[in-house]
Subunit: 512 residues, 2 copies
Amino acid sequence: MEKIERWGVFEAAVPGRTEGNPFTDYEMQGTFTGPQETRTVEGFYDGDGTWRVRFMPSFEGEYTYQISGSFSDRETEGRFLVTAPEPNNHGPVRVHNRYHLAWEDGTPHYSLGTTCYTFDLQREEIVEETFRELEKGYFNKMRFCLFPKHYDFCLYDPIAFPYEGTPMDASVLTRENFDQYNGNPPGNHWDFTRFNPAFFQIHDRTIRRLMDMGIEADLILFHAYDRWGFSQMSMEDNRRYLRYVAARYSAFRNVWWALANEYELLHHSKADWDILGKELRSHDPYGHLLSIHNCEVFYDYSKDWITHCSCQRCDHYRTTESTDELRMQYGKPVVWDEFGYEGDFPHCWGNFTPEEIVRRSWEALLRGGYCGHGETFLSDDNIIWWAHGGRLKGQSAERFRFMKDFLTEVPGCGLKLARLRDDKHFQWDDKVAVPEDPRYEGTWYFFYYSLWQPAFRQIWVNDTTWFDVDVIDTWQMTVTPIGRRRGRFNVPLGTKQYMGIRLRKSEVQDDL
Amino acid sequence: MEKIERWGVFEAAVPGRTEGNPFTDYEMQGTFTGPQETRTVEGFYDGDGTWRVRFMPSFEGEYTYQISGSFSDRETEGRFLVTAPEPNNHGPVRVHNRYHLAWEDGTPHYSLGTTCYTFDLQREEIVEETFRELEKGYFNKMRFCLFPKHYDFCLYDPIAFPYEGTPMDASVLTRENFDQYNGNPPGNHWDFTRFNPAFFQIHDRTIRRLMDMGIEADLILFHAYDRWGFSQMSMEDNRRYLRYVAARYSAFRNVWWALANEYELLHHSKADWDILGKELRSHDPYGHLLSIHNCEVFYDYSKDWITHCSCQRCDHYRTTESTDELRMQYGKPVVWDEFGYEGDFPHCWGNFTPEEIVRRSWEALLRGGYCGHGETFLSDDNIIWWAHGGRLKGQSAERFRFMKDFLTEVPGCGLKLARLRDDKHFQWDDKVAVPEDPRYEGTWYFFYYSLWQPAFRQIWVNDTTWFDVDVIDTWQMTVTPIGRRRGRFNVPLGTKQYMGIRLRKSEVQDDL
């Protein structure tokens, strides 16, 4: 009997009808029954007469299934055995403890992603270069678009298109005139009722490969960087696309849905987005994480179909320092998917120093939020991480791995900003992170000094507990133990920026 | 006949009564009549049987005066000639064009001050060291307290006290216990009805010396860093003090009044401050600049008696970037007297890098505001610029002189932030300063890139005007002309922070 690990992808490929338009004329469902669940999921047409159903089992044990629908005259049945997950497989990521994230097996997930908008539609050598960078373990999420991208430095055609038809002639484009071709210029000829399976198979392979690496795939479903009209389809076309995407990708445990990137730049109203969000939610049987990302104004993250806040900075100066206010406002996890990129682009969002990227990231973590990386260095070959992937050139990427290692050592799952009144000894200008989990109250503190450069700080959290004290240099990525301390004590910080002090309750509480 | 320059200090010293309490029991007035003004001003008792009247003539020509009052049985009369001001004398600073400042002769004043809270109550060698630093011309305003200061690193007694009496024993103080002596601890014995003229004579000399150097004296009248009870006097004592100070110092053209530093830290209500502000206003015959400085919450600068906003940052991350909003809210000049100090203090307000101090300063200037410097480097001798003056140790001070030189070249008086819609060619992420004076519209632009590090920027203000273009490195203090440009053009900026681009309409508008 076929074996599938728990939260793996079971896939049944069945021949079926091809007459008329198989993408619109027929239905396909699979019903899966295991020891603790019965679930009906939608199938999809994958071209060449092949129909597929994909299913993610959430429990171990023997499953049976029946596949039916108008796509075929006959029912298909079968069974498979769901085994324990491999060590690298923790299931899909869920909201945990209101403000945080954990995989379904309970392992905390500290979201530290990166963005390569259209990396898997590049030529093979660039894709392989990107994956070699991802192997370094700097990031645990990749944020990318399903549709191809038309924007600065990203003018040539992708290796495939999502629909049957022909694109406008790309040879007329230059860096200077690309603005004129935004939206839906003449020359595109598409049938939005007929998907191109070869295109979606590219993303299949990407999502699976990321999954095998333990990297979440944050799929951007709509965006405005477009010259083919994919951003200007009708609501009916949009809904058809969402249903196809949900049927095709929901069974991958590592999928997150990003309904839109910079939603305000598309022509849809907020009500349209609400309809599309609910449509996607109703066709995803597994309840994957789902959000919508802003340009200048946050979407109303309190909507039921939104699981977390996917934020771009609204203010250019104060960004991730607003994490705690957003948590309070929406009562959901805050993920800064875009607060600026390391690089030297002319655009203000793409020319941060690595130090500032790292600083803004720690400001998010400190307040119990999460954050993402990006790189925008000008390049003679126009291969830029933020759009194409390729080779990392900056200094912030490896510092995201250090953040993940740091968070992994926090007791429980995730941080929150301590209110100053929580401890009478805190100073008025302290920014202190403590574990979100109340079971660890009083046992763990992280003081962060951001852009400031104190020669030393006085620490005083209480008089009776011994703490092991570490000086953490978030830029140099060093953790320097300075010994056991109690009561009020000074910690030298070397007149350097980006420093922190970590206190962990000592194993030994006896006086020495 | 005695000669006084216009806006100089005429002083008449007259013997008078000493019986009882001359500070409270008698009155003294001088009435001055010149070709264009008649003004009655209050005199004051200066100890040792000497009474003084000081007067600042605002016009040239022959003045006569009569001095009278209960301080003496006889009237004193005299005359003097007011001559043209010396080149370094432009009169008192006034609000100019709503948001800016100019001396009374019309010369623009770009306020770039510094703070040495209690520098003139130090021993002579430190005072002289401070004046040697001020001679370098980095600053055109000195912000300091009249009352002595009790705070971290500032524990020993001042060289004199403002009242007759005796202070508490300073030998009991250590850096650790200074908090316990805040306010009005036992051991102080003062008669708040009897000023100590020797103390006020120290400030006389300081203010005059600053005046001769062309430096404004921003006198902080009340503050909370106190162990002598001067911050806890009754409203009657406060008013008596303000009247004495006004009679004594108003005739110095370079005086600005800072009613309080961090007003919230004193026990007075907002209504009390309103009373004190009006009291001072009514006893200052010349209408000197007057404001009140906050700790965490701005005072209501819209009050009639307040001439400008004297601000400390309210948010720790976004500070001077709010200058344009403050201008809009209060309709008055915005002077950031405290947004942070360069140094390595443990306190978050006192450990900024010089780069960040300079960046925040330019953010203020760009938006048509002004800003002040300060330094807080730990020091073995506890001589720290911010409190005592002494020697400058940082890198930001000289960059204030560069700012002043830059502003001096702006046509008209001062800047404002251009609204992006003012020019259709501005990019959405441009921060552009233009002259406040509408006569120079379209002739001058300054683009500032702050903490960002673009490799280049595209500039496009209009298609028909030739501009002389300069790249300005605000950190390196360089102005690099790159030539004449028109229409749309790229300006290389070297992937560096703190860069700007200045455009000045070319003298020659012909095509070359």
